[in-house]
Symmetry: C2
């Protein structure tokens, strides 16, 4: 008789955003007359930029003619896209990352979920708390997290690094030594950022203890402050200890287009074995590349027109962030984030739990956010709002909350 992977059964409840979706759908079905504003899941709302639409149409036309039709993509992605990334995201910032160290994929969620596969079962992971649930859940599925304690909502073999108001939502070096450290800055869900000198401490620490940092840079396009690094490779020594994950979802609105990439420098090794070679093998064996038309759309992100249009798009969302941040402050909320990230992190008022505030906001203001506790125990009593709504909806949502 076949046996299932029973690590899956250890996962408590369903994936956070599935749960939110079900709650919102139930409310909407019961109250069809209400206009619900969704500032929850972090999905974008602005249409793709014209330069991207043009690139997509052009690539579709190529696929319709025998002379320009494209079949299987190169394993690691098309050279034109990897080269554009290497030039714009790295060399232009003084980071030494080559096009052949970049792996194109269908998104940072997939990569952040799959990357743990190239590591053995005995690694101890460290995560910020609160944290993007995928990092922990995929390690649970791989049997790497020990036993779940439902009272504390923590796993016995996971090192949690609390990020709370008291430490300005920046993790401190852990007491126990981890093997794999997940960091995401600008941070999802707290919207906080750290400075280059702070990140350098993490790189130095990882090199000292022989840990790998999995650095999720999905929100780097939202950085507005000078001292905040856009890439971990701005730090000395990062090539020897860090993997970096990137998304096109938030900087270019590709949540429904699906494109991302992972950087693994060739120096990053365990003994003689380079992680680059392992990830290349995974790509070659379990993946068949992102669609050609989507890779052309990714290339357009780096064109002069694309850059100009996307700068505007990011500014549009950051204007929303500012409106939420200031509006909630005026209304007496304790808020943070929203300066280098499209997320606003607020304290639930009146001693409410995160889910109590979720229900309260859904019922009283018909506004959907994300309960902080869904991101980890230190997220309890916090709540995340995103700046990815339309301006009009954001305005209305904030005004509704102010009126509560």
């Amino acid at each position: 008789m076949f046996k299932i992977n029973d690590n899956y059964l250890k996962l408590p409840g369903s994936y956070l955003f599935s749960t939110i979706g079900k709650k919102v759908n139930a409310y909407a079905a019961a109250h069809p007359e209400k206009k619900i504003i969704r500032l929850g899941i972090g999905d974008v709302t602005q249409p793709l930029a014209p330069a991207i639409i043009t690139a997509l149409h052009g690539a579709v036309d190529e696929m319709g003619k025998a002379e320009t039709f494209k079949g299987y993509a190169p394993d690691l992605g098309y050279e034109f896209l990897r080269e554009a990334i290497a030039e714009n995201d790295y060399r232009a910032r003084g980071c030494q990352i080559g096009a052949d160290e970049i792996f194109i994929s269908d998104g940072a969620k997939c990569d952040s979920g799959n990357i743990q596969e190239i590591f053995g079962p005995d690694n101890k992971i460290a995560v910020c708390d609160p944290v993007y649930p995928v990092y922990v859940d995929t390690n649970v599925m791989a049997g790497r997290t020990g036993v779940y304690d439902s009272a504390s909502e923590t796993w016995s073999d996971v090192i949690y690094m609390p990020c709370v108001a008291e430490n300005d939502f920046a993790p401190e070096l852990p007491g126990k030594t981890p093997d794999i450290i997940y960091l995401c800055f600008p941070n999802n869900p707290t919207g906080s950022a750290i400075k280059k000198a702070q990140l350098q401490e993490w790189v130095d620490y990882a090199n000292k203890v022989g840990a790998v940092i999995i650095y999720d840079a999905a929100y780097e396009a939202y950085i507005s402050e000078e001292e905040v690094p856009h890439s971990i490779y701005e730090c000395q020594g990062a090539r020897a200890c860090a993997i970096e994950l990137h998304s096109f979802s938030k900087n270019a609105g590709f949540t429904g287009v699906r494109l991302g990439f992972t950087v693994i420098p060739k120096e990053l090794k365990c003994g003689d074995v380079s992680l680059h070679s392992l990830w290349a093998r995974r790509h070659g064996t379990k993946y068949n590349g992102a669609p050609y038309i989507v890779q052309r759309a990714g290339e357009a992100v780096y064109s002069p027109e694309g850059k100009a249009q996307l700068k505007q798009q990011v500014a549009y969302y950051m204007n929303n962030a500012k409106y939420i941040l200031e509006g909630l402050k005026e209304a007496g909320y304790t808020v943070s984030g929203g300066v280098n990230a499209p997320y606003i992190w607020l304290k639930a008022p009146g001693g409410m739990t995160s889910w109590e505030f979720f229900d309260f906001l859904l019922e009283k203001a018909n506004v959907v956010g994300t309960p902080g506790s869904g991101f980890g125990p230190s997220g309890e009593t916090y709540f995340r709002l995103t700046a990815f709504g339309s301006y009009e909806n954001t305005l209305e949502a904030v005004n509704r909350i102010k009126g509560l």
Copy 2:
């Protein structure tokens, strides 16, 4: 210090098609004047059908307008596509498969590689020999295959089911009892097919011994004979034991577009746990859906225009298959396949090994095929040619081989 997944190091050599690519590139670099014809990797060459191009352009336009822009797709895929699949691939053939048992993905290669994750480490797998390398390699990566013996090129914990001329390239029920059985019909690489009564025996066997069948139906569009089943769910009892994988790569030329789906009937359980729920959890946690525009392209595959155009496209390739099959027979080769599948399987002449014949064909005829031994030990001395070239190239390749 972090530890790698050392199962990866057990994999002998690189992924088959990467090796072929490197050999061909080296030959092309050394002989820039030669026109190489590639009938190796199984990549298609005909452009996307007009109905699909129209659908793609339409969806791209939707992505460019705020009112019709689409962000994250539903976890399991858009209803419009799942419903089209349920209707056309299943209900129209009398198979009881609901839209909610269909999971949209970015391709059958990914699904066939990822599906093993929902099973525990102790399952014993059975594969046809020769076989699509992804089935075995992904189980190696998961540590499920035991020790590799380089003399026999087999894994100690894998049950091999030889498919050779003597059994008409159809596997026999294994002597040892497997937990997971991989079957692919019409078969890659041999191009053989089995009849419904034969497949029913496998379903009955799996239900008897408590095994799961992972049934790869990627080539079903090429079936030309009445008695060959298009889906395993045409067999009684398959809902309790079978997962089915589908691709849009070969029936619609989506190798560079990326779309596929997996069917898991809700009856398929291990104790109380449905495999459907596990795969749904994996999708929700590690995947973010196929691109909206690509799912619309998939829908167009089932439109009346799409169906008519793709019937022609399949006929075009099968005309190539016929030409290869007959041409090689005339030239004195022992050949099979090519009737219900776009693959022709031939015996290397003059006692050559598969790789010897690969080199011979590359050097003497500048034709690229795939060495049978790359698919498993029983593939040794065999060789695969695909019908996916252009008609002109196929003609020329066959004529070159005839002239050797």
